[in-house]
Amino acid sequence: MRAERKDCFHLIEPLLPLVEKPARYLDHEWGACEDQDGPFHVCMIYADVYEIGQPNLGVAILYNELNSCAGISCERAYLPWTDMIAHMRERSIPLLSLESASPLASFDVLGFTLAHELIMTNVLETLDLAGIAQRACDRDEDDPLVIAGGPSAWNVEPMAVVFDAVLLGDGETSIKDVCTRIRDLRAAGASRAAILRALAEIPCVYVPSLYEQVVDETSTRWGYVVPCAGEHAPRVVYKRCEADLADTEPIAQRIVPYLETVQDRLSIEVLRGCARGCRFCQAGMTYRPVRERPLEQIVDATSQALAACGYDEVSLSSLSTTDHSQCQALLGELSRLTGDRGIRVSLPSQRLDAFGVDMAAAAAGGRRSALTFAPEAGSQRLRDVINKNVTQDDLERAARNAFQNGWRKVKLYYMMGLPTETDDDIRAIVDTAARVLEIGREVVGRGRKSGVSVSISVAVLVPKAYTAFQWCGQLPLDEVRRRQALLLESAPKDRDIRISYHDARASLIEGALSKMGRDGFALIHEAWARGCRFDAWTSEFSFETWLDAAEAAGFDLEEIACEEFPLDARLPWEHTSPAVSKGYLQREWRRALAGITTEDCTFASCTGCGVCPTLGVSNVIQEARS
């Protein structure tokens, strides 16, 4: 039953002195939409703490779009930290929205952002704390509709029973279409089932309850998903794609938080999509095509937003900012705009060549913290396999340029467990790091005071849906440990080379959840019931609890994550598509095995991924790229 909409801040106010970081729960930030009159109420939820969720660009975009619609109000909610959750459960206080402090169960629509696979137990915790049934089929007629979207929606099947609807792709337009459709049908007295069928008619909206899982000889053990008999839902739901980024709001995040967040700065999305074609990268496939925002719009919006928000740093965000065809001119304009006000410009990632370093230098001004590159693989052979179109010469030139430009610390990001990887590829990681260190010493000097150092960070490949590696198995834990040991043994005994690696056990959970079909919900629910939440937090993650949950649910996590799928098998996620064709991904897989690279279509000709003809869009590049 729908809860009453009322301000319940008085329920959590007495708890504020008892918890860490009470500023997480205050609302009233500068730029927040205080006018929440509705009468149709939506709440966007990021199922992690405020400082992680607040900077999320996706939530900000949808918040602005909905609050600009007449008659619709949109608020935010985050999952409280464990101390607050304990106090709220002890006192039977339900989860509240931030702006009006109303119970989440009083809203018309709740929208979750699925940022990564390890957030899934937090989604269940959020619903439970809100007093809302975790399974869509258990919700009452007038309960909120629970929708979702975001990067992890590309294999949403393990959570399909939770969501009434899932939005695929860009959300600017589709969120308004969905919410106005729900509002109008609710007003007309339509049943919940009728509303869901109507939502399935909107392009890009997947309504899981209208589909069923089929396991047969053409599928993996996780099956594939088809519309239920008698339902007219589309067999494949394609993502929504905004054709031109210039038509969207350049600065989505206008709420200025009180407490320090993970990206505590003004963020402007300078381009969307990346066509570099790295074969492990899900974002590179699912956000296509590339759409650059024009320079003038970026500069004008940055100028206005800095004045309106008061930030002292602006980040040019995207998957590959230095690929923007106007990047050099843009940094020049922004430097003139911000130079004498103590405002910094930051780039989230550097292209691995001399141009990338030049751009980093232009953005950094006088500051020189560590410069980060992502070669991803140690050997040229393996970089060709993953289509990281970077040569050893590129890397060495970039490193030399970085040291000549004043940097002393270089970070190198790699992955382990890439297809065809051998021990020689692992050794090549430390060889490359040693070479970069040697270049630094040649340029800067060899004494301890030179301060030259190289850090290597090595993650484990998690094969994801809609990548050329979606058929691959993940590296077993024991083999990860052996290769990590090999990495350490191979490293030169030089304290200016530092090596770190991610927790392979968390990657194993991520890998299993990335592969499973609808049956995966039993695992997630069992893990949540045994106390798993905040799995992306090292302090909270319990691998043992996940193992126990898997055993209780009848699964073997390692077996699931490490399983290879046949290239021609029907996969659990093929009914929800970013429009990259399966044939293209199969071709990319074969080219990977042959060590053949594929060019970036924004620099060369079309590579036939299928996105543009399927969605009727194309790359939008402001000037010729170089």
């Binding site: 009180y258 407490l259 320090e260 928000c309 008061g310 103590g342």
Partner: protein, 239 residues
Amino acid sequence: MNARLHRLRFEYPKSDRLAFLGHLELITTIGRSIRRAGLPFAVSSGFARRMKVQFSSALPVGVSSRAEYFDLFLTERLDADEVLERLIACSPAALSPRIARYVDESLPALEAWLDRSSWILDLGSSIDASAFDEGVARLRVQGAFSYMRGTMPKTVDVGESYVSHRLFEKHGSLMLALETLSLPSGAMRPEAFVRACAELSETPDALPAYLRCARTAQHHLDDGNLVEPFELSLPKLVD
């Protein structure tokens, strides 16, 4: 060559929900308000170029205030009331400044200079006034107390930090008006003082879990005399 800077002092409250901001959060929030107001603030030199601004001593999280202060160093001398108006328009209401006056640029840093604080605490309806007075007396005889600040033990010299106290009733609650002096070694937290007194009066459970506390005034103690924060203000300037 250093251009002359103009030191503008602001008084502002820390009220409502924003009493729960930590000191760093407060500094960041006010810094962003100043940037939004487009004021000609001075920026420090060096790689990390920061706004030149000084704040009075940190309040504990959850403690509100009627009288907080910050000094902003400006590169241009603007009308103080005009600056105040611009800053009010760009500040959260719960931190909205009330007074702005220029002060001498050579004054000591605010945090050290404003060393006397006045506080009001709501002790709730369960604690007995005479028992609490007894607790204060015992604590003063004891001379010091220790408490855990987070995970760190902290010892407070009551002899120097405690100045005076007064109890009175309001709406059925026992209210405490407390005067404290901050020392170079640190400031005494009013709540820690109250709980130490209640402990010594053997009535610790009579206090509420959350003690409402507000700072009501800050002064500089100069040879036994209290100096108002704006007492050394320059005459109001009108450009």
